[in-house]
């Protein structure tokens, strides 16, 4: 059986300092997966290495059994919100339409079909009434949802998301998770960099714990343990124990 995602021996270095060291990760089934780890652990870098946005010092990545360059149209991406200039003169709908550019190819402009598709995606994230607004007029949570809608418009089979919950309030977070779960239930895979450890157990089925090296990866119930979290974060945070024990208690109760 070919793996959905096969990351093999990936090493990435900036200025000769390794930020990812020999990472191996294989996923076979559609998952809603979180990548967790402390600052500087290489979480974003792992996503960028998979997408070919940063050069790998060594290693190999395959998606759906093929090199990434051969399956780009099946891959969706949500970059970090801070990576773009929100003062840019485009409307909300313009940004979501960018999700259809991969399918369109050179020179062809998005037409009626693409606009309808983009509107459907905006509806899903609850921003249907905002399509004509300039993106700078939105709140942080709304901007994050615009990026999510753009990814939905890509109609991909596997999504890589760089902190899709950064700076959003609890209500928006619930809404985003709802959309992600829907995606997973329709057979897509989502791999998201995630910071809030408290929400990991109830929201993600699969966890990748990363700290330059891969600490552990697997179903949340097996992997999200106090022991693994201590290995990942260096055992400095009391909250880690609490979070991990909560998971244990939950799995015992089941």
């Amino acid at each position: 059986m070919t793996a959905l995602l096969d990351i093999h021996d990936v090493t990435v270095a900036y200025h000769r300092r390794p930020v990812l060291w020999d990472v191996d990760l294989t996923m076979h089934e559609p998952q809603l997966a979180a990548i967790c780890g402390p600052n500087g652990a290489g979480k974003s870098t792992l996503i960028k290495a998979v997408l070919g946005l940063v050069p790998m010092a060594s290693g190999r990545v395959q998606v759906f059994g093929q090199p990434v360059s051969a399956v780009r149209k099946r891959i969706g991406y949500v970059p970090q919100r801070e990576s773009v200039d929100w003062d840019f003169p485009v409307s909300v709908l313009d940004v979501v339409l960018m999700g259809t550019y991969g399918q369109l190819g050179w020179i062809r402009r998005p037409g009626k079909t693409e606009r309808q598709q983009a509107r459907r995606c905006l509806e899903k994230v609850g921003l249907a009434d905002y399509e004509r607004q300039q993106i700078g007029q939105l709140s942080g949570g709304q901007q994050q949802r615009v990026f999510l809608a753009r990814a939905l418009a890509q109609q991909a089979d596997i999504y890589f998301m760089d902190e899709p919950m950064a700076g959003v309030d609890a209500a928006t977070e619930r809404m985003i998770f709802e959309v992600l779960r829907e995606l997973r239930d329709s057979g897509k895979t989502i791999i998201a960099v995630h910071h809030d450890l408290r929400t990991v157990p109830q929201c993600f089925d699969y966890v990748v714990l990363l700290n330059v090296r891969l600490v552990a990866a697997g179903p949340t119930d097996d992997v999200f343990t106090p022991d693994n979290l201590r290995k990942t974060y260096g055992g400095r945070l009391a909250i880690l124990d609490a979070a991990g024990e909560a998971v244990e208690a939950e799995s015992r109760a089941l």
Partner: protein, 312 residues
């Protein structure tokens, strides 16, 4: 009608020059708007200053004023300057603003030295009129020059129209563009080539010191009027067109003054008017919006409403 034709026939050369510079202004405005959005506004400035030594060297080799050769020289040394800036950024720890400042001044200094050497050579050198390349001169344009401008401007415009979607996405979110597998580096290179073309073609008319203003100002002015990219580009083109048109007309009547500064001052006027009166982001529009908001706030306070009431 006959009188108009008569006028057109008598002032044929003036009309040709007007058309050329206006078109150049429109093309520069549109290309420049994209360059500014891609955060490469200073590249045009560095390129134009770095072009001066190339102009002089081309003249020194041919010993005559050959426009095509001198513009080719300008392009070569301008691109060399940009390449050095990129190399400094990539392989040394010099910051990009310092790299641009250094290369720009070194090349321009070298150009001025070569220019003075040529002028002191006597004979053809002193009459070459190369100093018009520093501050620009529109009166000296021939019909051939205008055809060159016309062709180049149309090619630039066509490329921008065709690749609108590509330039838009790369300028807004180049990482996303790369995740789609787009050749972002090559799209950037194409944009920079358009900037280089606009700069080099503008050099004889506006001069190396000020030609980048023709790239930057129309787009900056248009931004006060709109939040839409397509409108922004059209307005940049229109602003650039009128900057060239009015600037050239003024400089035709003020022949003792160099054309470049007059064109730039025309552009500045458009910019200042936009800054004040632009309906989206102009100073007055923002002030009105602010006052309206304050009034709403006060009314709500007087009414004793809670702050949840939708202010937006």
């Amino acid at each position: 009608m006959n009188a108009l034709l008569q006028f057109a026939r008598e002032n044929y050369n003036t009309l040709v020059v007007l058309a050329g510079v206006s078109l150049l202004g429109a093309a520069s405005g549109i290309i420049g708007a994209f360059a500014v959005l891609r955060k490469r506004a200073l590249t045009g400035d560095a390129l134009s200053h770095a072009a001066l030594p190339g102009i002089c060297i081309a003249f020194l080799i041919l010993r005559e004023r050959n426009l095509i050769a001198m513009l080719a020289g300008a392009l070569v040394s301008g691109v060399l300057g940009i390449a050095i800036i990129s190399a400094l950024g990539r392989w040394t720890r010099v910051r990009s603003d310092a790299a641009i400042g250094t290369v720009l001044t070194v090349f321009f200094g070298l150009g001025v030295v070569l220019l003075l050497m040529i002028q002191n050579m006597g004979g053809v050198g002193s009459k070459a009129g190369l100093d018009s390349f520093i501050l620009g001169k529109t009166a000296g344009m021939t019909r051939g020059d205008v055809y060159v401008i016309l062709t180049a401007s149309l090619v630039c415009l066509a490329l921008i129209v065709l690749l609108y979607k590509e330039f838009q996405l790369v300028a807004f979110d180049n990482e996303f563009a790369r995740s789609l597998g787009w050749p972002v580096f090559r799209i950037d290179l194409l944009l920079m080539s358009l900037v280089a073309a606009a700069v080099v073609i503008g050099l004889p008319n506006v001069g190396v010191v000020l030609v980048s203003a023709l790239l930057i100002m129309p787009g900056a002015a248009a931004r006060f009027w709109t939040n839409r990219l397509s409108t922004l580009l059209v307005m940049s083109g229109i602003f650039g067109f009128f900057t060239g048109l009015i600037g050239t007309m003024l400089s035709a009547t003020l022949e003792q003054l160099p054309a470049g500064p007059i064109i730039v001052l025309t552009g500045t006027t458009i910019f200042v008017v936009s800054l004040l009166f632009g309906i989206r982001r102009g100073v007055i529009a923002r002030l009105i919006e602010h006052l309206r908001f304050q009034r709403q706030l006060n009314e709500l306070r007087l009414a004793g409403s809670s702050p949840e009431v939708d202010l937006l």
